[in-house]
């Protein structure tokens, strides 16, 4: 047996004349059809031979008797894919043409034509639903930028593009079969030597664009899962772009307060890292403390301050402003809580919101966005220079 050579299908399987012509072209180069599917076609290397190929659409699997009759007429069964069967004959043999009545051949495509039309109807409905969901998710979302950055926005856009390509392919398939059927019903035979180069080139270009996109669509969620990680915040110094509780609380009695421990991670003192194409570095970091012997101002219990930092390093710095506004919208709950626009030389933009013991900072610097929520009695303004420093340091 000769070496097997694999080629991409590139053209529509429904383009019968073009594929027949392509198989013949390959055979004359010594590559003889062995097997074919939607994506790949396999050829066996051998002596160049002038061979004619015919693709027959058979609604029912042919019986041995039928294959024998075909063979008696000079046509050898080579391969099948779905309901498409390929037969070949030596160019020089005087095999009776496989189909001698184009109108009858046209009838045989009626069901396929109907099936492809139904595919279009079903896919159209699915596409409308899909696009509707995609648009409404962003359109009716109060924080579209936050959603975009945290969610799989890029992947969703890729998915839309890939879906559109599939949709286009289904329509093109339908058109190819419809045109073929109509031309057969008018008594025109299939052109077995139709030029296949242009269609294969175009198919190649489209596949070159869409196959990698489809691959990305599949791979992105896995990268996301592989890159995200949770771990307990170390008690000592870290390189993380955060302000530690100890930097705000002056009391030397401050101790860490631990809580639910799952997967060896202390959920009250947790670093959660995430990745997305639009924000390749995302942190959500919690820290809880307790000062034994000290009470909250309202005497409701032992003083237990906490701090949560959300940090985003964006791919596109010009999304920073919108993301900051979305964060404010998301995390400033009370309508009457005042959000102050603070002028600070070390940030591009800085907002502060205070609601009793709940104090928040929203800020961005270049492509870095930070949101700090502090529950406690101390002033948060004092740590702003340190925060800016940490962001600059983290950037480097």
């Amino acid at each position: 047996m000769g070496k097997i050579v694999k080629r991409l299908m590139l053209d529509d399987i429904y383009a019968i004349g073009r594929n027949e012509s392509w198989f013949s072209g390959m055979a004359s180069k010594g590559l003889h059809l062995k097997k074919f599917g939607r994506l790949f076609v396999y050829f066996e290397k051998g002596e160049p031979k002038e061979t004619k190929y015919r693709i027959d659409y058979l609604k029912e699997a042919p019986s041995q008797e039928q294959l024998d009759v075909y063979q008696d007429c000079g046509w050898n069964f080579i391969a099948k894919s779905g309901l498409f069967y390929v037969f070949s004959a030596d160019e020089k043999s005087c095999a009776t043409e496989l189909h001698t009545d184009p109108i009858e051949q046209g009838f045989s495509l009626t069901e396929l034509n109907k099936k492809l039309r139904n595919n279009i109807i079903i896919l159209s409905i699915a596409m409308l639903l899909f696009l509707g969901i995609m648009i409404s998710v962003y359109y009716f979302n109060d924080e579209p930028f936050l959603f975009m950055i945290k969610g799989q926005f890029v992947q969703q856009i890729l998915l839309v593009i890939v879906e559109l390509y599939v949709f286009y392919s289904v329509i093109r398939n339908y058109k190819v079969v419809r045109d073929l059927k109509q031309s057969l019903l008018q008594g025109k035979e299939i052109n077995h030597n139709e030029d296949y180069r242009k269609a294969r080139l175009l198919g190649g270009i489209l596949a070159g664009i869409f196959l990698p996109l489809a691959f990305c669509t599949i791979i992105i969620p896995f990268v996301d899962i592989a890159k995200s990680k949770d771990y307990t915040l170390p008690e000592g110094n870290t390189n993380l772009p955060i302000i530690r509780l100890a930097e705000i609380e002056k009391d030397p009695n401050l101790m860490r307060e631990t809580s639910y421990n799952g997967n060896n991670v202390d959920w009250a003192n947790r670093v959660s890292f995430n990745w997305s194409l639009l924000a390749p570095v995302q942190y959500e970091i919690n820290e809880h403390g307790i000062v034994n012997g000290e009470m909250w101002g309202d005497k409701s219990g032992v003083y237990s301050p906490s701090i949560t930092t959300r940090y985003y390093k964006l791919t596109f710095g010009n999304m920073a402003d919108n993301l900051t506004l979305d964060l404010i919208n998301r995390y400033v709950w009370r309508d009457n809580a005042e959000v102050k626009d603070v002028n600070h030389p070390e940030f591009d933009k800085l907002y502060m919101a205070e609601d009793g013991i709940r104090k928040q900072i929203f800020a961005y610097l270049d492509n870095q966005v930070i949101h700090v929520t502090y529950y406690g009695k101390e002033r948060i303004e004092d740590v702003l220079p340190q925060l800016a420093q940490k962001m600059i340091f983290y950037q480097e």
């Binding site: 015919r54 027959d56 058979l58 609604k59 029912e60 042919p62 019986s63 041995q64 008797e65 039928q66 024998d68 009759v69 075909y70 008696d72 007429c73 046509w75 009776t96 043409e97 496989l98 189909h99 001698t100 009545d101 109108i103 009858e104 051949q105 009838f107 045989s108 009626t110």
Partner: protein
């Protein structure tokens, strides 16, 4: 596409005609050549395409299937359709008489 009367394709007409005598696919092509006075050499793809269609439309039936070969025969319905087509063709020949100088 089921047959609703009206003009038949040449392939359909001759296959029905040849199946007035029950036959199997193997010899059917030869029988068609014979019945058409060697005017028609039908391709095997067309033959089996039409057989599948006619069977679905109940114009022909399988008399016998021994696993190796199937014997087809025309049904009453098929015979009636063939007869109607024959009458139509006869009328057409009749109408064409004016051409015979």
């Amino acid at each position: 596409m089921s047959y609703l009367g009206g003009p038949m394709t040449e392939a359909m007409y001759y296959i029905l005609l040849a199946l007035v005598n029950p036959n199997h696919g193997y010899q059917l092509m030869a029988a068609i050549e014979q019945v058409s006075n060697e005017r028609i050499k039908m391709g095997p793809g067309t033959l089996y395409g039409v057989l599948t269609r006619l069977q679905k439309d109940n114009l022909i039936e399988i008399l016998n299937d021994d696993g190796r070969r199937k014997t087809y025969a025309i049904t009453e319905e098929g015979r009636a359709a063939l007869k109607a087509e024959y009458e139509r063709l006869k009328d057409m020949i009749q109408d064409g008489r004016i051409l015979e100088g």
